[in-house]
């Protein structure tokens, strides 16, 4: 009887009720297991098919185990240049977007100023706009300009586009870190005679650095994986996703799976290492002692990079 359970009166439940309760308690864990398997399935298939040995170009059915592609990952014409282009675009756009986005985040969190609401909206909009619309509208801009370096579209226009869509993600990630920032540390530095410049580089910057690194990591992975916007701004330049798209029609070479798997492992490794280091850096610090009656501000929660 549920009433008895609610009021806490002890009753001896029947076997059926016990079984029901057991299922009730564990069904969510079973669900979690299946959900994670479902999420991991495509990654596993991608990794598995990087060891495939297909006779022709098409790599969609299993033929046999082979290490050939792993031993010769750039054994497909143009693949090395394509990956190099992608890494170049990702590197440049990450550097610029991280710098610009961090400044915006600093302004938004540290200052009260007119227009902060509009700024927030402007930061949010690119994340809520379909990629195809962003890519298409950029292309119309470049076509309307109609002159180099914007048209015909090329490496430069890809970088411009990637910086554009990365800024918002950087702002959001760095801002999350800044909210958990104790302003007293800066005030203490100033009291001890440091000027604003020194305070920023010796106090503020080291503290928000993990947030900036997380943002850069996110920007890099978004950039290196972007197909939709890049397809509109690439022209004759080929990035790794554009190469895959072109290859998908005739059959994706096994080497593409090798590079995809390698990218995945590198990204996961990076996140694991930064999380581990951050965890170690955070652990030794004892929880701040509070005066009686003082409450912990909600902004004290710090976000792990994966949550941002």
């Amino acid at each position: 009887m549920s009433e008895n359970i609610a009021t806490g009166t002890p009753v001896r439940p029947s076997a059926v009720v016990l079984a029901g309760r057991f299922i009730h308690r564990n069904v969510l864990y079973v669900y979690l297991l299946f959900a994670i398997l479902y999420l991991m399935l495509p990654v596993a298939v991608m990794a598995l098919f990087s060891f495939n040995d297909p006779p022709g170009k098409s790599n969609v059915t299993w033929h046999g185990f082979s290490l050939d592609a792993w031993l010769n990952p750039f054994g497909v014409p143009d693949l090395f240049e394509v990956v190099r282009t992608s890494v170049g675009v990702a590197f440049i756009s990450t550097m610029v977007a991280t710098a610009l986005g961090t400044l915006v985040a600093l302004a938004l969190v540290r200052y009260r100023f007119r227009g902060s609401g509009a700024t927030n909206t402007l930061i949010f909009l690119p994340m809520a706009t379909p990629e195809i619309v962003m890519g298409a509208s950029l292309l119309t801009l470049f076509v309307a300009i109609g002159e180099p370096p914007f048209f015909p579209t090329n490496f430069v226009t890809i970088v411009i586009a990637h910086i554009m869509f990365n800024i918002s993600y950087v702002v959001v990630t760095v801002r999350a870190r800044l909210y958990g920032f104790d302003r007293h540390l800066e005030e203490a530095a100033m009291d001890l005679g440091a000027n604003e410049w020194t305070t920023f580089w010796k106090v503020t910057f080291p503290i928000i650095l993990p947030g900036i690194l997380a943002a850069a990591l996110l920007a890099f992975s978004l950039s290196i994986d972007d197909y939709v916007i890049t397809s509109f701004t690439a022209g004759r330049t080929t990035t790794f996703p554009i190469f895959i798209w072109g290859a998908a029609r005739v059959g994706v070479p096994v080497q593409v799976n090798v590079i995809g798997t390698a990218f995945f492992l590198i990204a996961v490794g990076f996140v694991a290492i930064t999380t581990f280091l951050q965890g170690r850096a955070n652990r030794p610090a004892p929880p701040p002692k509070m005066k009686e009656g003082a409450t912990m501000p909600a902004s004290e929660r710090t976000l792990a990079p994966t949550e941002a």
Binding site: S2, H24, L28, A35, I36, Y38, L39, M40, P42, V43, V45, M46, F49, T61, A99, L100, L103, V104, A107, L108, T119, L122, F124, P126, A128, P130, E131, I132, V133, M134, A136, S137, L138, T140, L141, I160, A161, I163, M164, V172, R175, A176, S221, Y227, V228, S231, F232, F240, P241, I244, A248, V252, V256, N257, G260, F263, F264, A267, A304, T306
Partner: protein, 335 residues
């Protein structure tokens, strides 16, 4: 001294300037340019001329590409519902039962999305293949008829979209659930919130049947079968898992997350063309496919710009309506 003060007042604007200028020039202005371009006539070779008379581009575009617009709406909506059904229990389990493994579990949920979008979709093509690793064995054992197929049907496209945009639903819901103070649930239980019966059974049945029917319609499968299936699952979930404390405490407090998550899923889902291209066929082309081919293959910039503009306007209108119905302003502040 006065100059110094004024300079300090300027600091936030100086910090903002480079980033915001970049967004104004390469995000805001292109949208305006796209609108102008939709009134172009001419070709790339001869040059373009703007004329208001070219408003007919819009009527022609709507006329010709109505099915693709409708398909984007239906596929995007169905994928959003599926995402929600998968993501909510997932986020709930991690937030409330994750314990000290919360961050690890969250990482496991996000990690797959560090692989390339296109390769993930390509993997689904392998998995869902007619004689692929999923259906091949089932057909060999006679559990499925040999002509059964998912690839190159709406179901494959919707499944691909739902998979690829799942984190956009999971993360906002997780964030809103994670913020909930567990003591509120305890307080509700102290105040006699128990199982929700028979309300949960009835509500589960109705919601389950509705969702099943809607998905059946979207997938162009048998509506009655899917509605029946939804009814069954709904009754089970509603009877055994929806308690009053969930209904009255947890669910309302997670609404901002649901709101943000469904928008962040639906918007890119509607504009997607990658899944339709890789997993679908010519009968599953969405409006994104049309925009892309008009732009990049036909160089038909005016029509493509008009279509993009209609897509954006339609999405904005739906978002505004949705925000009004749900009456929440959490969207832009959700972080």
């Amino acid at each position: 001294m006065n100059v110094r003060k004024r300079l300090i007042g300027l600091t936030p604007y100086l910090l903002l300037a480079p980033g915001l200028l970049w967004l104004l020039i390469f995000f805001v202005y292109p949208s305006i340019q796209m609108f102008i371009s939709s009134f172009w006539s001419g070709t790339l070779e001869t040059g373009f001329a703007v004329s208001l008379d070219n408003w007919t581009t819009y009527t022609r575009a709507i006329d010709r590409y109505q099915p693709q617009f409708l398909r984007s709406l239906v596929y995007g909506g169905a994928a959003t519902i599926i995402c929600f059904l998968i993501a909510y229990p997932l986020a709930y389990t991690i937030a409330f039962r994750g314990g000290r493994y919360k961050n690890l579990l969250l990482f496991l949920v996000i990690a797959p999305f560090f692989t390339s979008f296109l390769l993930r979709t390509q993997s689904w093509k392998i998995i869902l293949g007619d004689d692929g690793i999923l259906f091949g064995p089932l057909k060999d054992f006679g559990l499925l008829p040999p002509e059964f197929r998912v690839l190159a049907t709406p179901a494959a496209v919707i499944a691909g979209i739902a998979y690829n945009f799942l984190p956009f639903m999971t993360l906002p819901i997780y964030v809103s659930l994670e913020k909930i103070d567990g003591r509120l649930v305890e307080a509700a239980k102290d105040l006699y919130a128990g199982p929700w019966r028979p309300g949960g059974t009835v509500a589960g049945a109705v919601v389950g049947a509705l969702i099943g029917g809607a998905l059946g319609a979207a997938l162009s499968y048998d509506i009655v079968v899917l509605a029946g299936l939804g009814l069954l699952v709904g009754i089970l979930v509603g009877t055994f898992f929806i308690s009053q404390s969930f209904l009255r405490v947890v669910l309302p407090l997670s609404l901002p997350g649901i709101f943000a998550g469904s928008l962040l899923t639906f918007i890119p889902a509607m504009g997607d063309f990658v899944n339709a291209e890789i997993l679908g066929n010519t009968q599953t082309r969405m409006i994104g496919n049309v925009i892309q081919s008009r732009f990049l293959e036909n160089n038909d910039y005016p029509t493509a710009a008009a279509l993009s503009f209609i897509l954006m306007a339609a999405i904005l209108a739906m978002v505004a309506l949705y925000a009004r119905v749900l009456g929440t302003e959490e969207l832009t502040s959700a972080r």
